[in-house]
Symmetry: C2
């Protein structure tokens, strides 16, 4: 049991190290040796869990959404919460930063795929339920909204990251949602949504999901 726990902790440490290296250097420039050095584990321990750089990248993408957020009374708030908590985590959490960078890399993603389908599926589910509850405007097509929000959000985080060092990502994500939501939510729902730039920070703190494990 203790051994199994240690294995889980080692696996997570390796993933965090891989994320740190991928986020900083990108997939092509990163090496397993760099990741090994950052993780501070033995080569055997790393290869026990991940047998290649590709497997490490896939592992990082798989854990993008492994911290479920609390349910909300207004279902559409959960879409906002996914976006705003990602925005918040992009600033401090290498796992999210690596996920964004790996997913946008045209060459690397041929090897390991992308986190986008995972986010699209998650938002599609949320918007479908919001639609069923009558929270959305009638023309809304859930998957179309999900794909639009995921892609536009990714553009906003990329712009923030490349033009402003990520400092403004929460503010910019909030601006984006404030402009998109009036075309998605019914007016009565709209005025109940919390889309403030610090929504992600508050949500994660309340849910005991920060600070991220080092």
């Amino acid at each position: 049991m203790a051994q199994q726990e240690r294995a889980i902790r080692t696996r997570r440490a390796v993933l965090e190290a891989a994320a740190t290296v991928f986020a900083e250097q990108g997939y092509t420039a990163a090496t397993v040796a760099d990741i090994l050095k950052t993780a501070g584990v033995t080569k055997g321990a790393l290869y026990f869990h991940f047998d290649s750089k590709e497997a490490l990248a896939k592992g990082v993408l798989e854990v993008q959404a492994d911290r479920p957020l609390p349910e909300q009374e207004v279902k559409l708030q959960e879409m906002v919460d996914v976006a705003m908590s990602v925005a918040h985590r992009l600033v401090n959490d290498p796992v999210l930063r690596a996920g964004a960078r790996l997913s946008s890399d045209p060459i690397g993603r041929r090897h390991y795929g992308s986190a986008w389908p995972l986010w699209v599926d998650m938002l599609t589910e949320i918007v479908t339920e919001a639609h069923r509850r009558g929270e959305t405007l009638s023309h809304v097509v859930p998957r179309e909204i999900a794909e639009m929000v995921v892609s536009a959000f990714n553009g906003v985080q990329l712009f923030a990251q490349l033009e402003t060092d990520l400092n403004e990502v929460e503010y910019r994500a909030s601006v984006l949602l404030k402009h998109l939501l009036p075309s998605i939510a019914s007016p009565a729902v709209l005025m109940r949504l919390d889309v403030a730039p610090d929504r992600g920070a508050r949500l994660l703190a309340d849910a005991g999901l920060v600070p991220a494990p080092a």
Copy 2:
């Protein structure tokens, strides 16, 4: 005079070749030798215009917006037109595809910069004038709108390019604008805007701006 014209044509041919290679391979993998082969000009001719790979990338970024679009009665239509004509050109024009790829490349852009500030400035100017004419809602901050539209559009094109081979970029750009514009334009202006997926194609054909020079 004929000599000067030939020089301009050679320069353009080199830029188109550079764009083709950058769009396909990315900045890091591209070589001047590849570009030379694609351009079909002499090494001397290429180096007369561009003395490095970096200079070629900068040259490609500089010509992103060198085909001015026709003025429109409704000023905000010009913002739509910039977006929809870029969406259309992304499908067939390597110059635009290279511009998008180069601008999103976290490593390469340290060398040559990005096309985003150019698009942001252009849209800021349009939205500022639209605002002055009373076409926008009162809360609109022109530069904020410009940055949001440029970043969200870039995310949408990246998603279309990486997940769907760019086929859907015009449709997705149209969906994005349809959801953003009700938070930007006044209702009376909104209903006069043409945001159809084929807006870019029609606009460029009417202006005699297609097909792109080979």
